[in-house]
C-alpha cells in the first residue's frame, strides 16, 4: 500500500541508511578476527586487542600520555586521499551527469563545490611540493625508500608537519630549494663556468584565451594554438681549475634549460640537471612546466633520474628531446561546459506529406562545440563493412573475416588517461561524446580480410585479399574531404539534450567550417556505436 515513489534521491536515501559504506572489512574487525581465530583470544580480549592495535599504529606513549603520531601516514597517502576527494567533486560537477547537474543547479551549489575544488587543488600543490623535494633529496643521495603499510614513520623533509605545509605563510620554495650544494658552492666561489650555450626551437600547442568567446563561439573560453618557442641550454663546469681549452673538453657538472618569454629568457631555469652523490655525470632532473608569471612557476612539476647521465647539454637534443617537449605538455583540463537546455518542440509529419530535407544547411558551416577533444591518440577505432549491420571495434588481434569492403572508419574519443588496455577499459567518453567518421581511400577499402591495430605505435594494419599487409598511421588510409589533409566526412556529438551529426556533403569548405549540413536527433542515454553511431 505504499505509494509508488520514482524519485532516485529518495531511493538513494534508503541505500545510504542500509550501509553501502560497510562493504570493506574495517581494520579493527580484522584484528579481532585474527586474534580470535589464530591466537585463541576471547571476544572481549580481542576487542581490547583491536583498540590497542590502533594505539600501536597511530600513537606514541610519552610521560604516560598517548600522543598522535602524524608521521604514521606518508604524505603520498594524504595526497591520494585528497585526489579521491577531487574525483568525488568532479563526479558531482561533471556536466555530463544529468542527475548531479540538476541537483546542483536546483540548490545552486555549483559555485560552492568549485570553491572546494580550489581548496583541494591548493592542498595537492603544497603536499606535492614537499613530496617532490623528498624525492629530489633521495635521488641526490641515491637512496631508495618505499613505505609499507606496517611502517610507522614517514618523516617529511625538515620535519614539516601537515599544518606547516598548508600554512601559506610557510615559504616552501625558500625552505625546500631544489639546489645542490656543489652548484651553490661553485656559484658563491664564482667557479661556475659555461661549457655550452645552445639555442633550440621547439613547437607545441598552447592554450590561450579564445577571442571569439562568447559572441561567436559561446562554448570555448580558450583555444589551442600552435606555438614555437626558443630554449636555451647552458652546460656548466663547477671547477675553474685548468685553462680555457682544458675546461672546454670537460663533461657537464650541471645543466640548465631556460624558456624564452616575449623575446627574453625567463629568470629561473625550467629544467635543472644535477649530479647525484658520487655520480660522474648529471642525472637528476628537476622540471618546471609553468611559465614565468603563472602560478606554480618556480615549483617543479617533475623530479626524475636520467639513466646514464648527460655528458653535455647537446645530449638533451639527441637523446632526451621528450624531456624538452614535456615542458610544454601540461595536461589540459577539460573545461566543464554546461549544456544549453533546448526547448522541446513537437514535430509532426504525416505520411505522404512533403518532407523537408533532414539536414539544416548553413553557409558558414557547422562546428563541433568542443575544441580540445582530439589530443593525439585518445580515440578507439571502429570499422564498418558494407555487408555488416554495425561497426566493430578495432582490436590488436588479427582475426580474419570474409572479404568485404570498408564503408567507413569511426574514431570514438576518450578522456586521456582513462583507458586501460590491459584491463579492457575503453576509456571515458570526452565531453559531447564526439565520434568522427572517415571514408577510406578506394585502394584500401576493397577486398579487406582484416583490420587491426598496434596499440603501442597506433599503426593501423589492413590485410587485403591478394595484397601484402598495409601498415601506417590510420589517417594515411583516410580520404581527404577538402582535397587537403584527411578529414572526417561526418562528426557526431552531444549538445544539451540532443545529439547532432554535422556532415560534409559537397566536399568543399564553407566560410567557417567544412560541414554545411547538420542533422539533429535524440541524445542516446548510453552511446553504443553499434546502434547509435550509424550513418544517417
Amino acid at each position: 500500500m505504499r505509494k509508488k515513489n520514482n524519485s532516485w534521491l529518495w531511493g538513494a536515501a534508503f541505500l545510504g541508511v542500509l550501509g553501502l559504506s560497510g562493504c570493506k572489512e574495517p581494520f579493527d574487525a580484522k584484528v579481532m578476527k585474527i586474534l580470535q581465530a589464530k591466537k585463541g583470544y576471547t571476544e572481549e580480549q580481542a576487542l581490547v586487542g583491536a583498540g590497542q592495535a590502533l594505539r600501536w599504529r597511530y600513537m606514541v606513549e610519552k610521560d604516560g600520555l598517548f600522543l598522535f603520531n602524524y608521521n604514521a601516514v606518508p604524505l603520498e597517502d594524504k595526497v591520494k586521499k585528497i585526489r579521491g576527494m577531487q574525483r568525488t567533486l568532479n563526479f558531482w560537477l561533471d556536466p555530463r551527469n544529468d542527475r548531479t547537474r540538476r541537483y546542483l543547479d536546483l540548490f545552486k551549489q555549483r559555485e560552492y563545490l568549485e570553491h572546494q575544488e580550489k581548496i583541494l587543488e591548493y592542498k595537492v600543490d603544497r603536499f606535492n611540493h614537499v613530496i617532490l623535494y623528498a624525492q629530489f633529496e633521495r635521488l641526490m643521495r641515491k637512496q631508495h625508500v618505499s613505505f609499507s603499510p606496517v611502517m610507522k614513520e614517514a618523516p617529511t623533509p625538515k620535519g614539516l608537519s601537515d599544518l606547516e605545509i598548508l600554512l601559506p605563510q610557510t615559504n616552501l620554495t625558500k625552505e625546500l630549494p631544489f639546489n645542490a650544494g656543489y652548484v651553490e658552492s661553485a656559484k658563491s666561489r664564482k667557479q661556475l663556468r659555461e661549457l655550452e650555450n645552445i639555442i633550440h626551437s621547439i613547437t607545441f600547442y598552447e592554450e590561450e584565451a579564445n577571442p571569439q568567446y562568447p559572441h561567436i563561439d559561446p562554448h570555448n573560453k580558450t583555444r589551442l594554438v600552435r606555438q614555437t618557442r626558443d630554449l636555451q641550454i647552458i652546460t656548466y663546469s663547477c671547477s675553474d681549475v685548468g685553462n680555457e681549452e682544458e675546461v672546454r673538453t670537460r663533461s657537464a657538472d650541471y645543466i640548465e634549460v631556460f624558456r624564452s618569454k616575449n623575446g627574453a629568457w625567463e629568470e629561473t631555469p625550467a629544467i635543472k640537471i644535477f649530479k647525484s652523490q658520487g655520480s660522474e655525470l648529471p642525472t637528476v632532473v628537476v622540471l618546471d612546466k609553468d611559465r614565468a608569471g603563472l602560478r606554480g612557476h618556480g615549483v617543479p612539476d617533475l623530479v626524475s633520474e636520467l639513466e646514464g647521465g648527460l655528458m653535455s647539454g647537446k645530449m638533451l637534443l639527441t637523446h632526451h628531446e621528450g624531456l624538452l617537449e614535456a615542458l610544454f605538455t601540461k595536461p589540459v583540463q577539460e573545461k566543464r561546459v554546461l549544456p544549453v537546455e533546448v526547448p522541446q518542440e513537437v514535430k509532426i509529419v504525416h505520411v505522404g506529406e512533403a518532407v523537408a530535407s533532414k539536414y539544416v544547411l548553413s553557409e558558414d558551416g557547422w562546428k563541433v562545440p568542443y575544441d580540445r577533444y582530439n589530443q593525439g591518440t585518445n580515440y578507439t577505432l571502429w570499422v564498418k563493412y558494407v555487408d555488416d549491420k554495425t561497426p566493430h571495434a578495432v582490436s590488436p588481434e588479427l582475426a580474419l573475416r570474409k572479404v568485404s569492403e570498408i564503408e567507413y572508419v569511426a574514431k570514438r574519443f576518450f578522456v586521456p588517461g582513462t583507458r586501460d588496455v590491459l584491463q579492457g577499459r575503453l576509456g571515458d567518453d570526452v565531453q559531447g561524446r564526439v565520434v568522427e567518421y572517415y571514408k577510406v581511400k578506394p585502394e584500401f577499402a576493397k577486398s579487406v580480410k582484416a583490420a587491426y591495430i598496434d596499440e603501442g605505435t597506433h599503426m593501423l594494419k589492413l590485410l587485403q585479399h591478394g595484397k601484402p599487409l598495409s601498415e601506417n598511421s590510420d589517417e594515411f588510409f583516410f580520404v581527404a574531404q577538402d582535397g587537403k589533409d584527411p578529414k572526417p566526412y561526418m562528426i557526431q556529438f552531444d549538445e544539451g539534450e540532443r545529439r547532432f551529426s554535422i556532415v560534409d556533403i559537397d566536399g568543399k569548405p564553407q566560410k567557417k567550417s567544412l560541414y554545411e549540413a547538420r542533422e539533429e536527433f535524440a541524445r542516446p542515454h548510453d552511446l553504443d556505436l553499434r546502434q547509435d553511431g550509424v550513418v544517417r
Binding site: 545510504g16 553501502l20 574495517p26 576527494m85
Partner: protein
C-alpha cells in the same frame, strides 16, 4: 561512484523498523482553535526517563506508516519565516488552505483545521526549528576556537611575535583566486545560521524520521519525529538533521570521509533505549564496552527479557538503573567527541581522512581519539589482572595481528574483489519479478546500475536484517 550518490541524502531511521500495513483510519476530525497542534494533542512529556521511553514506544505504535508522501511539493501550504535572520520556507505537506480553514490530508482521510488550529501547527514548527538550530549550534560553539588552538600550537613558531593565527584567517592565499587562509586550514567559523535550512518540509515524508539532502539546505521532518521530540522534551531528531544540513561541517566532499551519522547522533540527548539499539551508535556501544566496561547489549537483554511480537515486557527498575549508567557513558563519549575529537579531526583533516581510508573505517579517527584519552577496563574484575596489565603482556601478539590486518587491507586494495552480483539471467521468472518489485518499492528506476543495490540486499540478508524487520513490524 554510485556510492557517492547513495549517500546524497541522510536520514534518521526509526529503529523500530518500517511499518508497512495500511490501517483503517478514523472518520474526519475537526480541530477547533487551539494552542496546541493537532498532532501533539493528548501526548505526555514524562520527566522520568523510563516513562518517556514507554510514551515514545506508544507513539510509534500509533503511527500509521502508510505514507502519503507527495511527489510534488506544489499545492501544499508554504510559510516564509525568518530564523536567526535567515529566510526559511516551511512547507507543510498535505496541508491545503481552504478559505479560513486548512484541510489536512492524512492516511485514509481528511481532517479540517480551523484557523487557530493551523496557527498552532505553524508556531510549534517555527519554535522547534529555532530550538533545534540553537542546540545544534551550541554543541559546536567552541569548535573553531578549539581547532585554531590546535593549529596554532602546531605552527606557532612560524608566526611572527605576538601574531595570532586567528588574525591571519581572512588573509588571501597568493596565487589562488578567492581562497583565504581559513579555507586552506579548514577552520569552519560557524554561526547559528549555518544550521538553519532554507527549506523545512514537515509532514508525512517517507519511511524515516528526518531527511537532509547534502549541500541543499533541504530538510525533511516527519510528524512521528516531531511527536518523539515532543515527548522527549527536546528536538533531538531535528537537531540531528540540522547537523547534516550544516555544509561547513558535512558538505561535499568531506562528508564522505568520516561517519557523518555518528557525528549528527552525538548532538542528540538520547534516551537509554536509543543508546542501546540505534544502528548509528554501534561504535559508541562498542567503545562503552571496551573502555568503560558497559555492555549495552546485555543491558538491553536484561531490561527486556524476551522479545514477543505483540509487545515485550520491560523491567522498568532495571531500565531505570541502566539509564543512569548510560547517562554517564554518553556524557563521556559526547564530551570526548566535541571537546577532543572533532577539533582534532578538522584541524588535521588530511591526516585523519587518510587514516580512516587506510583502515577501511569512517569512524576510525574517533576510535583512535577515544583510545588516546581512556584506558580500557573491559577485562577488569575481581581476582583478575587489570585490562592495562593484560595489554602489557599481550602487546607483541597484538602488534603482529595489527601488522597482519594492515597487510591484508593492502592486499585487498591491490587485488580488489569484484562485486558479486547475482546473475539475474539465471533467476526464475518469479524471482525476477520479486527482485523487480523490491527495487521498485525502493525507488530504484529500471535504468539504474543495480549492482550496489543488490550488494546491499545480499548484505542485509546475510546479516539477518530481514528476519529482524519481521519482528519490528
Amino acid at each position: 561512484m554510485k556510492k557517492r550518490l547513495a549517500i546524497a541524502a541522510l536520514v534518521a531511521l526509526p529503529f523500530f523498523g518500517a511499518p508497512y500495513i495500511f490501517r483503517q483510519s478514523p472518520a474526519q476530525v475537526v480541530y477547533a482553535d487551539s494552542s496546541q497542534p493537532h498532532y501533539l494533542k493528548h501526548l505526555k512529556q514524562p520527566k522520568d526517563e523510563v516513562q518517556q521511553i514507554l510514551e515514545v514506544a506508544r507513539v510509534v505504535n500509533t503511527f500509521d506508516g502508510a505514507f502519503g508522501a507527495s511527489e510534488f511539493i506544489a499545492g501544499n501550504i508554504e510559510e516564509k519565516v525568518k530564523v536567526y535572520g535567515k529566510d526559511v520556507t516551511i512547507v507543510f505537506h498535505n496541508y491545503v488552505q481552504d478559505g479560513e480553514d486548512v484541510r489536512y490530508f492524512r492516511t485514509g482521510g481528511i481532517d479540517v483545521l480551523k484557523k487557530g488550529a493551523f496557527e498552532a501547527v505553524k508556531q510549534d514548527i517555527v519554535a522547534t526549528l529555532h530550538e533545534a538550530a540553537e542546540d545544534a549550534y551550541k554543541e559546536h560553539e567552541h569548535l573553531s576556537k578549539r581547532i585554531i588552538a590546535i593549529q596554532e600550537k602546531a605552527v606557532g613558531k612560524r608566526l611572527e611575535n605576538s601574531q595570532k593565527l586567528e588574525d591571519l584567517l581572512d588573509q588571501k592565499v597568493k596565487g589562488y583566486e578567492n581562497l583565504i587562509v581559513a579555507d586552506v586550514l579548514g577552520v569552519p567559523r560557524l554561526s547559528r545560521v549555518d544550521f538553519v535550512p532554507s527549506q523545512l518540509h514537515v509532514g508525512p515524508l517517507l519511511d524515516a524520521l528526518g531527511i537532509t539532502f547534502i549541500n541543499s539546505e533541504f530538510v525533511g521532518y516527519d510528524w512521528l519525529a516531531r511527536q518523539i521530540d515532543f515527548v522527549q522534551g527536546r528536538p533531538n531528531i531535528l537537531k540531528h538533521e540540522l547537523v547534516h544540513n550544516c555544509r561547513k561541517l558535512q558538505g561535499i566532499p568531506t562528508i564522505y570521509e568520516y561517519d557523518a551519522e555518528f557525528h549528527a547522533s552525538m548532538v542528540m540527548d538520547h534516551n537509554a533505549l536509543w543508546f542501546m539499539r540505534h544502528s548509528y551508535l554501534n561504535d559508541a556501544r562498542s567503545l562503552a564496552k571496551v573502555l568503560f566496561g558497559f555492555d549495552a547489549v546485555k543491558a538491553f537483554n536484561d531490561s527486556r527479557k524476551f522479545s514477543l511480537l505483540p509487545g515485550s515486557p520491560l523491567d522498568e527498575n532495571k531500565m531505570a538503573d541502566y539509564a543512569k549508567k548510560i547517562n554517564l557513558v554518553e556524557k563521556e563519549i559526547h564530551d570526548t567527541y566535541f571537546e577532543k575529537f572533532l577539533p582534532e579531526y578538522i584541524a588535521n583533516l588530511s591526516f585523519w581522512t587518510a587514516v580512516n581510508d587506510d583502515l577501511n573505517d569512517k569512524n576510525a579517527a574517533f576510535k583512535i581519539c577515544a583510545w588516546a584519552y581512556y584506558q580500557p577496563t573491559l577485562l577488569d574484575g575481581k581476582g583478575r589482572e587489570s585490562t592495562v596489565q593484560w595489554l602489557r603482556k599481550n602487546q607483541k601478539v597484538i602488534e603482529e595481528a595489527a601488522k597482519e590486518a594492515l597487510e591484508e587491507i593492502q592486499k585487498e586494495r591491490e587485488n580488489p574483489q569484484p562485486i558479486m552480483v547475482p546473475d539475474v539471467h539465471h533467476f526464475s521468472p518469479q524471482e525476477k519479478e520479486l527482485v523487480k518489485s523490491f527495487l521498485k518499492v525502493m525507488g530504484v528506476s529500471d535504468d539504474e546500475d543495480l549492482a550496489p543495490v543488490l550488494k546491499v540486499v545480499q548484505q542485509m540478508s546475510k546479516d539477518g536484517v530481514f528476519d529482524r524487520l519481521r519482528f519490528y513490524r
